[in-house]
């Protein structure tokens, strides 16, 4: 009984650190790249900085609300906001003209170091490795999506390309694509469910990319029902898995 109570306490404490909310993003200029922030219940949270398309953080967009799914991280404020890590952000599709705040740069309000500044790149790209080269046997690749979105962004395209390269290299006997849609539990208790049909759309799109990349023996499946939410791992359930079998 005592152990169960303790478990509940730990779980509640963990959820207390989650910040899942919808808000207008706020852009703060700095002397280097802009910071992206969002306000929730009177507190400002730091989401990230402008980077290149290859970076894993893709900034939100003014004229759109953003779904923030993050956990309060240790450390000082960044650009005036509490950092969240891990963090997933999703740009909501409908436009919201009220999301239009750009704050001017202020002395002392600096962005974290950026691999690329606001001008042209000054770093010669390193030769791109092929992580799949080291792989053997049965492998699963996971393509992740923003909320209610079927767009395979740069990171998703990279995963699909890797999976395709691996499948072709080993002459995969079967490539099983499975699509999912998910639910997000907001910190205010509200649940957001991704649209019907999205799991199939995601799966079919990935299968098309694989086939168009020369992969044979691709089968497609999807789970029509939305994955349940727990408020912690919801973003990771918006996905397509690619199971490559020798």
């Amino acid at each position: 009984m005592r152990a169960a109570w303790l478990l509940c306490f730990v779980a509640a404490a963990a959820l207390a650190q989650e910040r899942n909310f919808i808000a207008c993003p706020v852009v703060r200029d700095t002397k280097t790249v802009p910071c992206f922030l969002a306000e929730y219940q009177g507190e400002l949270y730091y989401l990230g900085i402008q980077q290149d398309i290859t970076d894993k953080f893709h900034p939100p967009q003014l004229k759109h609300q953003v779904l923030v799914e993050g956990r309060v991280a240790e450390g000082p404020r960044v650009c005036g906001g509490i950092p969240l890590q891990p963090l997933s952000i999703s740009v909501l599709k409908e436009i919201d003209l009220s999301c239009d705040t750009i704050l001017p740069a202020e002395p002392g309000m600096d962005a974290p170091p950026a691999a690329r500044g606001a001008g042209p790149s000054s770093v010669r790209p390193a030769p791109r490795g092929t992580p799949s080269a080291a792989l053997t046997g049965r492998q699963e690749f996971t393509v992740r999506y923003a909320f209610n979105d079927e767009y395979a962004d740069f990171a998703a395209q990279f995963v699909v390309t890797e999976a395709a390269g691996y499948a072709k290299r080993i002459g995969a006997a079967a490539v099983k694509v499975a699509g999912y849609r998910a639910t997000t539990l907001l910190s205010n208790g509200e649940r957001l469910v991704e649209k019907t049909g999205l799991a199939e759309k995601r799966a079919q799109d990935v299968a098309t990319l694989l086939r168009g990349s020369g992969v044979a023996n691709v089968s497609v499946d999807w789970k029509p029902e939305a994955e349940p939410a727990d408020g912690e791992q919801d973003a990771s359930r918006r996905r397509v898995t690619i199971l490559v079998m020798p």
Binding site: V27, D29, V33, P34, F36, Q50, D52, I53, H58, P59, P60, Q61, L62, K63, H64, K93, E94, I95, I102, A118, G119, P120, S121, S122, V123, R124, E150, Y151, A152, D153, F154, A156, Q157, V160, T161, D205, T208, L209, G212, S213
Partner: protein, 493 residues
């Protein structure tokens, strides 16, 4: 005295740019001449250089120069060497005067505002004569390659139709063969290895497979045409000969191969400037002139400070007033930061909105300034309220205006929502997607001085109007000097 002249070169707004009355060589369809390996053509900015990398070209019977259809036109009608392998509005007006409107370039099908207008009237060709725009009738709804209809995410209504073709009983949206007529500039048939380069399997902006070249099965750059509707030079040639030349049958494979071979070896760029002298003299910027285009590798990203889009102009940062202005313009293009906002397929693909960057972020392909990725972007030229057209009825232009209503199940346009007013739906007329409304494929920056007006809708009569549009659109707050520098830079490319 020389300095005074140089200062004048900067101080004057160059309002008369590209409007001089120069004699240029107009190549008639069916002509029998030999085009030299290297040729030069005067324009009001100086001189354009054109290189045939494969050597002299005999036009006699050559399918690029020979009418293959029924209206007397050949490819060369709209792709004249003197006009940077495109054609300028000023050149078309001159052609109208010289031929009393009888030149086949004014063919009713697409050289007039609509085929059912009285063709002898100059006003029936106003879009071509004023803006250099040809009518592009696109089937509605959009079609797959086999002619089957594509799924469409939006409905389209004609709100205004000054040219009359979109409401025409015979040619309009409600005709027996429904079509949407948009009006666009012909793109230069030169430097094409750069236009065709950079063909990844997956299109970054859509996350979908790139179109394939039907002849090879390989992915294509999707940077041909204003809407990327043709995958290859071969398919483009077939479409143009059946459409623009009104041929009743497809050209032979041999003819097509000859057209493509010619197109693939033409390079053009400005070689001399009236204030800057020779642009290709030793020691100058290495990217200028057509020989540089011929010799450089295509498909290279130039959005960097170690090997920039148009190379380095440091050698011109001296006392020569004009050349120093060009060098400053090159720096503005590469390094002047501004808030890039609400541009579909730039801000919407994961870069964030706004994006604090420079011109070179989008115009990133070395030597041409196109986008190395499939280049359609809604920069705002076609869609209200940022469009290039007047914003009030009193000053309304001759372009049609369409109302696009996106279905509730579709993703809306990222910055305009579900109802969009546009003069050209752009890529959306091919993809059927709401997010693509108003997106136009970027054009190359070379030989600009020879082929005004600019933008796919010919709305910018001068490079100043191009720069002014961007200054307004992105609130760049360019000073007059910065504008002059950019104009001078663009004028030498």
């Amino acid at each position: 005295m020389y300095r005074l002249l140089s200062v004048l070169a900067i101080a004057l707004p160059l309002a008369a740019q590209y409007q001089g009355n120069f004699r240029v060589t107009w190549i008639e369809p069916g002509s029998k001449e030999t085009l030299p390996a290297a040729d030069q053509f005067e324009n009001s900015n100086g001189t354009l250089g054109v290189i045939n990398a494969s050597g002299p070209v005999d036009t006699n019977g050559h399918p690029f120069f020979t009418p293959l259809g029924t209206n007397g036109r050949a490819c060369v009608n709209c792709h004249q060497p003197a006009y940077g392998m495109s054609v300028s509005a000023a050149g078309l007006r001159e052609r109208w005067r010289e031929t009393d409107g009888k030149d086949p370039v004014f063919a009713a099908f697409d050289g007039s505002n609509c085929p059912d207008l009285p063709q002898q009237k100059e006003s029936s060709h106003s879009l071509l004569l004023h803006r250099g725009l040809f009518r592009i009738p696109l089937p509605w709804p959009p079609q797959n390659a086999d002619g089957s209809p594509k799924p469409v995410e939006f409905s389209i209504e004609v709100v205004r139709d000054p040219a009359g073709c979109n409401t025409s009983r015979e040619y309009g949206l409600k005709s027996a063969h429904p079509a949407v007529s948009v009006y666009r500039r012909p793109r230069p048939v030169a430097n094409l290895k750069y236009v065709l380069a950079g063909a990844p399997n997956i299109v970054l902006k859509t996350g979908k497979l790139a179109d394939r070249d039907p002849a090879t099965g390989e992915p294509v750059s999707m940077n041909l045409m204003a809407d990327a509707r043709e995958p290859s030079l071969m398919t483009q040639a077939i479409s143009a000969i059946l459409g623009h030349e009104e041929a009743r049958t497809e050209p032979s494979h041999q003819q097509l191969e000859k057209v493509v071979a010619f197109e693939s070896q033409v390079y053009m760029a400005q070689v001399e400037h009236i204030f800057g002298g020779s642009l290709v003299a030793p020691g100058g910027p290495a990217s200028l002139g057509p020989a540089a285009l011929r010799d450089r590798r295509a498909g290279v990203l130039g959005d960097n400070n170690y090997d920039p889009v148009f190379g380095l102009f440091d050698s011109w940062k001296g006392k020569d007033y004009f050349r120093a202005s060009v060098a400053r313009g090159a720096d503005i293009f590469m390094f002047r930061q501004f808030w890039l906002r609400d541009a579909t397929h730039i801000n919407s693909i994961g870069l964030g909105n706004p994006l604090k960057r420079t011109c070179a972020t989008c115009h990133n392909a070395q030597m041409t300034g196109q986008d190395l990725s499939a280049g359609w972007v809604d920069v705002g030229t076609a869609n209200y309220p940022t469009w290039t057209e007047p914003s009030t009825w009193a000053d309304s232009s001759e372009l049609p205006i369409f109302k696009i209503t996106c279905s509730k199940d579709a993703d809306p346009h990222p910055y305009l929502g579900r109802v969009i007013y546009t003069t050209d739906p752009g890529r959306a007329l091919i993809s059927g997607r709401c997010v693509d409304v108003g997106s136009i494929v970027m054009q190359q920056f070379r030989g600009l001085a020879a082929r005004a007006p600019y933008f796919s809708n010919g709305s910018a009569k001068t490079l100043r109007e191009v720069v002014d549009f961007y200054d307004r659109r992105f609130d760049m707050k360019l000073s007059d000097t910065e504008k002059d520098d950019l104009i001078n830079f663009l004028g030498v490319l």
